[in-house]
Symmetry: C2
Amino acid sequence: MSISDRKKKILAAVVDEYIRTAEPVGSKHLAENAGLGCSSATIRNELAELVSLGYLEQPHTSAGRVPTPMGYRMYVNELMQKQKYSLEETEEINRRLNQKLQELDDTIGSISRLASQLTDYPALALTAAAPTTIRRFDLIYVDANTFIIVLMLSNNTVKSKLVHLPVSVDQPLVQRLSALFNSGFTGITEDQITPLLIHSSERAADDSMGLTAVIAAFAIETLSEVTAPMAFVSGENRLLNQPEFRDPDKAHRLMSYLSSGSYILPPAENGLPDSSEVRVLIGPENIAEELKDSSVVIASYDAGDNTRGLIGIVGPTRMDYSAVASKLRFLAANLSRRLGSGEAPPEGMHNKLIIKKSEDREE
Amino acid sequence: MSISDRKKKILAAVVDEYIRTAEPVGSKHLAENAGLGCSSATIRNELAELVSLGYLEQPHTSAGRVPTPMGYRMYVNELMQKQKYSLEETEEINRRLNQKLQELDDTIGSISRLASQLTDYPALALTAAAPTTIRRFDLIYVDANTFIIVLMLSNNTVKSKLVHLPVSVDQPLVQRLSALFNSGFTGITEDQITPLLIHSSERAADDSMGLTAVIAAFAIETLSEVTAPMAFVSGENRLLNQPEFRDPDKAHRLMSYLSSGSYILPPAENGLPDSSEVRVLIGPENIAEELKDSSVVIASYDAGDNTRGLIGIVGPTRMDYSAVASKLRFLAANLSRRLGSGEAPPEGMHNKLIIKKSEDREE
DNA sequence: TGTTGGCACTCTCGCCCTCCGAGTGCTAAT
DNA sequence: ATTAGCACTCGGAGGGCGAGAGTGCCAACA
């Protein structure tokens, strides 16, 4: 069912105003400021209808109107004007994105921090699990009791580890193991590394000291670490800026849910949506009980290596959807461009001589 | 100046009770529950004196007494009874410590999370900067456009990185560079890697493609990363459990200070105290304005490699000093035992076949 | 001299009540 | 269909009141 054009205008004005002020908005105020050419009485009539249609509600008789989740939904779907960035803002975000990405480790954490700083809401970042294999295996002999394991993974990262041994090994054994793992353990996923495979390798290498097991364990651990979905939340405390979270208990409930790191996305979103579209989950549309009266805005980006990452912003239902959505869209698009696309990730920028470490944190 | 024995008992009782209830404590209540054999009137007299001595104060006439920072200081220095753990608790902490340390990366984060969980206050973890050098350099040739840099550091960790090149290199060059770096760049600290050194190496290696600069940049970056003091905060939201932070603004101020990651320790503590003693900073003893009416409990531990780490707990001045201090002491002692002590860190436990990943997060 | 019970006093907190104003719904006029 | 006017409603701020907790002081007592 469609509603009149003027109703839409009024609804949009109500949502905009409520987002700005967090206070129920009345007919008179609307008539004066919203610039639609009619009097407060007319608007009152329209408002009454919007209430009975379910788009608005009144906290109590004779307070102004407040959008319902359905009202927000309509706003997000049809009425919201997409925000464009000025050149300076774009510049600013880009600059900070660059800065963040230079701190190459903990990328996911930086992204979520950046998103939170930009929007002034709590942010979360997730990465999906992606099947990863070992592409290359190296063992570096250091001394009789020490060697280094170096794994090059199919996602073009390298993991390494120092191993101290209670027993001593000789260089030939290390080389033998290296060759063996390179042929037997590359190109397979974590669950293909079976005890059987380990055992047979052990015999093939003539390894009586359990080295094989140690190396295999590191391989398994590394793969499971890389494969595991990761979650990161930051800026939880920004919730306290929002009037709807002035109640410390309420704030605490949501904050500890957020930092618990266990999000439940609605089934539809579960597979980390492919499109670079921004999704909005309003109040009861969320599955998690703790989010039932909050909203979440999610964007996904191409993290390279067939993986999609996800950035989300959490806030009250009265969230500035327009601003948040466009910021998230921008961020996701840029991340995709930088991280994603094809086999060879743009290592280029890491190769440059980057000495200065940026030390800025939140605020 | 020393105070009478009974005054001390009473002061201790007041602090204990106030820590428990967060409410001013009155003479009658004290007479009935604190088990010192005298009447409320006597206690009133003593309380009045304690007030004039500066150990206690009254929020207003005819409310109970509340400890002043000076009162807490006395409590912490002399009156507080050190809490002993039951066997089960010790067991429990040990179990979780084991679990945490198995997730070998992000140790500092895990420690702070664990501390926060144990105490139910926000926790922070810091590591001091320690001079670190490169002990060994390896370059692994992958293909004409790709090689891996592997650095073994003086703190017995290994860092590695994949480098993609726009130009192609041959294996001999890579080997030449490897040898060169091994002789020229090991055993020196970050600031000894000068442009001059890089330049002369470049010529020595006959490297016309700037590879030397790339590798040197990684060395510098890695060293500065490892050397840099790190900070980590977790459980900020637990502040909201404390009645003194029911005011969202107050809570927000402190929380955002905490997550800003810039602590200022009093000069005395600045060098990360050597002793494994636990320090308590009460209210105004803190330098940072934001901490003036909160307290911080700090313990330091031997993180190996001549580095000391620091764990801190932040809470209201009415903090359960006794419990927090003993938990922190226990944690620090255990960490020292596991991480610290001498040249060869106990890698042993990492060598074991650890496959199960623990997935618990906060709460 | 130190301790105790008694008593009047003080101050906060929670409660209720009232009043004010913003905003509504309805009706009659345009 | 829109508007102006009007009576009505309801939440929130502000003021007054009473209860209760806790004190300080005093006089009596060991």
